[in-house]
């Protein structure tokens, strides 16, 4: 069996003890190059010390060309709100500090489920809008939308969470990631571009929620 990928390097002591007791092979990595250095049966990303770097690493590992799965995310209880809108970045999470037997049970369960617990959906659909996550193609009424990469990522995020209101800051951190410092204006610019491409009929799918942010779907006339 391939080793599990552990981030960061050096690996957290509590985690190492659990893995070693359970006899699970592991390899700690510190960056993308490390993640590319081998094949892994899954990953445990410990985001409790440095959540920004941790979420960034989880995102990186889930990218199409790396796709390290399944992925367990370790967070503190105070970070649970940070999971919102990030569900595609991990398969399961565990609040630390955790009882060693809980951590072991979760890791074993994760590895036993061949491709992770929450398989990310391959298609996101909302009314006549469809996004194929496998091929990166978006279409509306079966007509393809010619999106740039960031427009596609933004639409994917919004369409995966219909009816929810997101602030610009949340969108920036979830869609662009913490590594991006363009500022919240960038969100407005991309929203406007997306609306332009959705066309007059469908531009209303993305609604501005005054002095809060944006919301996808659910007609403004509805509940």
């Amino acid at each position: 069996m391939q080793p599990m990928l552990i981030w960061p390097d050096p690996a957290p002591h509590d985690l190492v003890r659990v893995l070693d007791v359970a006899g699970i092979a592991w390899q700690a990595i510190s960056d993308e190059a490390g993640a590319r250095s081998g094949l892994f049966s899954g990953a445990v990303v410990s985001a409790d010390e440095d959540p920004e770097a941790g979420f960034a690493m989880a995102r990186l590992l889930r990218r199409g060309d790396l796709n390290v799965a399944p992925l367990l995310l370790l967070v503190r209880g105070s970070q649970l709100a940070e999971l919102e809108g990030r569900h595609d970045a991990f398969d399961d999470f565990c609040v630390v500090p955790a009882h060693p037997s809980e951590l072991e049970a979760r890791i074993k369960h994760l590895l036993a489920s061949e491709s992770g617990l929450d398989l990310p959906p391959e298609v996101v659909q909302y009314e006549s809008l469809e996004l194929n996550l496998e091929t990166y193609q978006a279409s509306i009424e079966a007509k393809p939308l010619d999106l740039t990469y960031m427009e596609y990522e933004l639409l994917k995020f919004l369409a995966s969470n219909p009816g929810r209101v997101f602030t610009r800051e949340i969108l920036l951190s979830r869609v662009w990631g913490y590594e991006y410092y363009g500022g919240a204006r960038t969100v407005d610019v991309h929203i406007r571009r997306l609306r332009a491409k959705l066309g007059e009929e469908q531009a209303g799918l993305i609604q501005t929620v005054r002095s809060v942010g944006y919301k996808f779907g659910e007609s403004r006339w509805g509940a």
């Binding site: 990469y149 960031m150 596609y152 800051e169 204006r185 610019v189 406007r192 491409k197």
Partner: protein, 442 residues
Amino acid sequence: MDNQQDYVLRTVEERSVRLIRLWFTDVLGKLKSVAISPVELDAAFEEGVQFDGSAIDGFSRVQESDVLALPDPNSFQLMPGRDDEITARVFCDIANLDGSPFEGDPRQVLRRNLAAASDAGFQFMCAPEVEFFYLASADPAVTPQPLDDASYFDHTTLDENSDLRRSTIRRLEATGIPVEYAFHEDAPSQHEIDLRYTDALAMSDNIMTLRTIVREVAMETGVHATFMPKPMEGVQGSGMHTHLSLWSADQNAFYDPDAEDGLSGTARAFVAGVLTHAGEFTAVTNQLVNSYKRLVAGYEAPVNIAWAHNDRTALVRIPVPKRNKESQGTRIEYRALDSACNPYLAYSVILAAGLKGIRDGYELGPESLGRLGDESERTSTDDKLLPANLSVALDRMEDSELVREALGEHIFEWFLRNKRAEWGDYRTHVSSFELRRYLSSW
């Protein structure tokens, strides 16, 4: 390979893109294009596409003429509405063979100036109002022929003009270029398209794309669209007024709720910088002999180097933001730019001047009140006036350390040489004005 490249390669495959156009801009602001087949794209991302730049304006160097075009995956865009064959464009940065930025590439020049802004904690946002004319023909031998006699905001029903504008806007929006307003301008057959603000680099790409789309759509019906600054005597010329603002994190750095007019100290220093150096960089924002026939009094074009809240003949205007949207909408409008400028270089010099104003704490003088721009007062040496012609503008540019630094030595020298030659050709040209006026009576 990064995610964006992956996205682009996958899209090319899924949508059966037949041709990818690598776009870049020469020093004079002309769009250049190299087409590659999809199978080459992967390698283009990894290694760039090598080509001989010696024939491209401003790219030529004495020793080494080969450069690399590096596609910017962020700008990858399918181009809708072009026949049935699906093509895509991607803007490129030009690099030397060793991978360092090529100093003759306007896009790299703007990147460098934006990096300086970013180091100072600012993001630079631009929203241009692009004006142009639809003409019956591009033949220089015939007098420019407008398609209508309409005027400012006129609603022209069901005519060729409004059809053209509508399909142009549809294509712009489908290409990800949001249009804020579009309307008939003051002069016959003159139109204006106002773009929604975005950062200066994306906006410069958008302007290059807009010029192409406007021309292409017009050409499909046999109409010629021109961005020439002053194609017709006696009516307004085509400007590219641009609304500018600096953003610091998520805050509009130009807005101060405690200031009487909402204008922050940063904004005032920026305007002071722009006004102080405007005469030095006008050759860049108004680069043609013809540009200076637009910059005359009486046609809503700026002549005096001044700022004002309401006077549309001032060089810098402070538009009134929408009520309760002051924190978003506070901005300044620079009004000298014309539609024939190289946007990458023009935004570079304006930004550099504004940043210098902020860095060195320039004081903004009093607002000008009342209408400005009495042509009779204009003398070429008066530094309160914009240069009266290209030759004067080049003289003032040549003495400017600020412009030299903003453009970089390579482009600075090349631009002066090229434009001096243009002026030389013009100076020795015998015009129809002279023939009409002198031939029979002298």
